[in-house]
């Protein structure tokens, strides 16, 4: 069978010592930042992005993916032990997980989260392996109009799912696309919007935007209200869940995995959304819904499985279509472009070792996470006592060295400060930076596909509605957009976000 052969190829890549090392490093860093509140996976990957350029592309993507799903994992540890979700996707886990810890059942709660996540990660990896090749085969038949409409759909979805005002998110996407157009025009070699800086001839570096808007901004945000953390850690005794516990979590883990795998593919914050959805479903179908919020083990099992599954399947659109659906995958696409790989459906065919190596490494990474987290949980919690005033200068030092090492160019460092300032200003005004990043990454491709489509159709915009697949994408985009602006749905969305914060 083909998929078995492919997975075999993946294993042969992912089990190379160097790849195992980067996978381990990624999950380790991911767990670390997942445990530490105040540093998220997006900021970390943004800050480490320049350093990944020295690696080969497969190792770079393996490590970045490891940081992302490792963070989902580490976030649940602090959610359970000290009621402090390290990541927003584990906010629901804290509801019942912390109650379990207070009842002296921290061990089973941690084990449930770990085993549920591992099971979900395994299934989701298989889903990626099975779903990705046919999807990319379909996508290979896409012409420029289909791509253009697909990207429009992706951007619209990111706008609808971003928190806050739809108009602001839309404006951020447009601004992102405009920033993406800075640099030399590929067709005519005309410099655009470079203000005479020769450093901008190749366009704005994605690292400047990533490190500035996600790294520096995050630090400024955290420093605006510094508080001392009082860490009251419950002692963890007896990790293994009882037989009754195991029986109770089988169904929630399965349901969580299905919900997470499905929602993870949707653009936007798949992991956050799916953990909430999984929790709500469990509470709805439970015979004893009053137990939820008071230490119900199902309330830990389902969302933890869901967010891990979603973290995994959120790589499907990126790997098969070259379409980033959240900040992390946008950064990974940026890394691919800088490494000279053209993201898109061709990756499966042209870079099979990269594609399957990354997928299999996700499963290996999940296994590492179980081994890394359960026995060492005490060490991770101790890390919470590292003060933020040591942590953030270290991150700054790493990222400035990293940025300079890419081009040996001081201009890149100055642009980080500019984008950091702009990003902070916009966040203070209620504009999330994620849609801007997606627009920035997709901007040049969007313009390119638009121009090609118009050449194909000899100047008629009707080509986007005449071709059935393109029309379908546009209709879905319209429906998604309308759903985003209908007041009742918006209200529900705000509730989910306010709970997540």
């Amino acid at each position: 069978m083909d998929s078995l052969q492919n997975l075999g190829l993946g294993f042969s890549v992912a089990l190379q010592p160097a790849k195992l090392l980067y996978c381990f490093l990624g999950t380790l860093v991911g767990t670390l930042i997942g445990v530490l509140p105040g540093i998220g996976p997006t900021a970390t990957i943004a800050m480490l992005l320049p350093l990944t350029f020295t690696l080969d592309p497969t190792a770079a993507l393996i490590m970045m993916a490891g940081i992302y799903y490792g963070a989902q994992y580490g976030g649940s540890t602090t959610a359970i032990l000290i009621n402090l979700p390290g990541e927003s996707s584990s906010a629901v886990t804290a509801l019942d997980g912390y109650q379990m810890a207070r009842q002296g059942r921290a061990g089973p709660a941690l084990a449930t989260a770990a085993l549920g996540s591992f099971f979900a990660g395994t299934v989701a990896t298989l889903v990626v392996a099975v779903a990705a090749p046919p999807l990319s085969t379909v996508a290979l038949k896409f012409g420029p109009p289909e791509y253009f409409s697909l990207m429009v759909l992706g951007l619209v979805a990111s706008v609808v799912i971003a928190s806050g005002s739809v108009a602001k998110a839309l404006a951020m996407v447009v601004l992102g696309i405009l920033l993406g157009l800075v640099g030399t025009d590929r067709y005519t070699a005309t410099p655009r919007f470079t203000m005479g800086f020769f450093e901008l001839a190749d366009g704005i570096e994605i690292i400047s935007i990533a490190v500035g808007m996600f790294g520096l901004t995050e630090i400024m945000r955290n420093l605006q209200n510094e508080t001392t953390r009082d860490v009251m850690v419950t002692r963890v005794t007896g990790l293994m869940p009882s037989r009754d516990d195991l029986r109770a979590i089988v169904a929630p883990v399965l349901r969580g995995t299905v919900i997470g795998s499905a929602l993870g593919i949707l653009p936007g914050g798949g992991a956050v959304l799916s953990s909430f959805a999984a929790y709500m479903v469990e509470k709805k179908i439970s015979k004893t819904p009053e137990r939820f919020g008071k230490g119900a083990i199902e309330g830990v099992a389902a969302p933890e499985s869901a967010n891990n599954a979603a973290a995994q399947t959120s790589f499907i659109p990126m790997l098969t279509l070259g379409l980033p659906i959240n900040a992390v995958s946008a950064l990974m696409i940026g890394a691919m472009i800088m490494q000279g790989i053209v993201p898109g459906p061709n990756i499966v065919v042209e870079q099979p070792t990269l594609f399957w190596g990354v997928i299999v490494s996700m499963w290996i990474g999940n296994l590492m996470l179980v081994l890394l987290n359960l026995p060492l949980v005490g060490i991770w919690v101790k890390l919470l006592s590292v003060p933020y005033y040591v942590l953030f200068p270290a991150i700054m030092a790493f990222s400035t060295i990293g940025v300079f090492s890419v081009n040996s160019n001081s201009f890149d460092l100055y642009s980080i400060s500019v984008f950091g300032l702009l990003g902070y200003l916009l966040i203070k005004l209620g504009c999330e930076p994620v849609p801007l990043l997606l627009g920035f990454v997709l901007g040049p491709m969007l313009e390119d596909q638009l121009r090609r489509s118009m050449i194909l159709s000899r100047g008629s915009a009707a080509i986007f509605v005449d071709r059935p697949i393109s029309l379908t994408f546009l209709i879905i985009a319209l429906v998604v957009f309308c759903m985003g602006v209908i007041p009742s749905i918006r209200q529900k969305r705000e509730e989910v976000f306010s709970e997540a914060d």
């Binding site: 108009a167 602001k168 601004l175 655009r192 030092a397 460092l413 313009e447």
Partner: protein, 150 residues
């Protein structure tokens, strides 16, 4: 009249950026619909940005103001200054002094930072980074630059 000046400002910023992109892209060749030039897509986007900005600004009129939350100017100043310090000193002073200065500057962003603490953090972090990047990863950056080598 009540005005949510935060949104008024947001809209204004988007309008200004849109105008800047139209102005900057004025001389670019527009081309035709079937052969779009480099100056076709950007004015369209700029116009959309200006319209969205106007919509956001108009919507802010007659609405309760919305607080922007706490801002630490100290954090903004020092966090944004740190990469500039590194960029300005790395080629001249070399990696070691540039790192000490950069980390020192970054560390001052925290309100809970004292000068002694910042000095300790910057020297030890610089030593760690040099061990990791120069010796560990073999990054080709001179530790001491021409300004100091004399």
């Amino acid at each position: 009249m009540r005005v949510n000046w935060k949104d008024t400002a947001t809209g204004g910023i988007f309008i200004l950026i849109g105008i800047w992109f139209i102005f900057e892209g004025y001389g670019l060749e527009r081309g035709t619909l079937s052969r779009m030039g480099p100056g076709f897509f950007s004015p369209v986007l700029s116009a959309i940005l200006i319209l969205l900005g106007a919509f956001i600004a108009l919507r802010s009129l007659g609405v309760e103001p919305d607080p922007i939350g706490p801002v630490s100017w100290r954090a903004v100043l020092f966090t944004c200054a740190a990469p500039i310090v590194f960029g300005a000193t790395i080629t001249g002073l070399g990696l070691a002094p540039a790192l000490v200065l950069t980390v020192f500057c970054a560390a001052l962003a925290s309100r809970r930072m004292t000068l002694a603490r910042a000095a300790a953090v910057s020297v030890s972090l610089a030593a760690f980074c040099i061990a990791l990047f120069s010796y560990g990863l073999g990054l080709p950056m001179p530790l001491i630059g021409p300004w100091l080598a004399g």
